[in-house]
């Protein structure tokens, strides 16, 4: 299943922004998707 990044990722400064860091640390384990440094998203187990 292909993942599409929502616009907030771009608005907050892209894949290396503070918002994305917090997302990957706090939210990814909950929803099972992480944002990669290259700006893509992928499923995590």
């Amino acid at each position: 299943m292909q993942h599409v990044l929502p616009r907030w990722v771009e608005r907050t400064g892209g894949a290396d922004s503070e918002a994305v860091r917090i997302f990957n640390e706090k939210v990814s384990p909950i929803v099972g998707v992480k944002i990669n440094p290259d700006g893509t998203a992928s499923k995590i187990e």
Partner: protein
């Protein structure tokens, strides 16, 4: 951005902390959430109704997140309609109590149903991806933590109904 980060931290706290089970007045919670949504868009003509006296055992903070998301989506996806109806209630399916939130808004193609509860999934026909992209995934996580299930039925331009159970 601050609000987004605060929402993410709230989500993390709410879904990873222990569940404090108590009797929750879901009807009152839904009415409160609906009133907050109405205050944010006072010009919208949305008729909201909630069955009275619906209670469930669960974590009030987490169930509030569920109703916030479900009713927020109902408000959002009826936004293009001059008038809309949103309802919170309960029904029985196979002898099981099933809560629901229904609207008469945009709906969606049931071919997309499997995507609904995965993060960062864009439905067919959606040209943009606003919102956090994690609302339904979050709700599913909370419902599962409560021993329940969540699913939806809809048709394009005929509205959507989200159903959920709680153990």
């Amino acid at each position: 951005m601050d609000q987004l980060i605060e929402d993410m931290l709230d989500l993390s706290r709410a879904t990873r902390s222990d569940i404090h089970v108590a009797s929750v007045d879901l009807s009152a919670l839904a009415i409160t959430v609906a009133e907050e949504l109405r205050q944010r868009a006072p010009d919208r003509k949305v008729t909201f109704s909630a069955m009275e006296g619906l209670t469930a055992n669960g974590d009030e903070g987490q169930l509030r997140i569920v109703l916030n998301n479900l009713l927020g989506n109902a408000w959002k996806y009826t936004g293009a309609h001059p008038e809309a109806k949103v309802e919170f209630g309960i029904t029985k399916q196979d002898g099981v109590d099933v809560f629901f939130v229904s609207d008469d808004g945009d709906g969606f193609d049931m071919a997309d149903a499997e995507k609904l509860f995965a993060a960062f999934q864009r439905l067919q026909g959606a040209s943009e991806f606003e919102g956090s992209g994690i609302g339904l995934a979050t709700m599913q996580r909370i419902i599962h933590r409560h021993g329940g299930e969540i699913w939806a039925k809809a048709a394009v331009e005929e509205g959507a109904t989200f159903y959920f159970t709680l153990s």
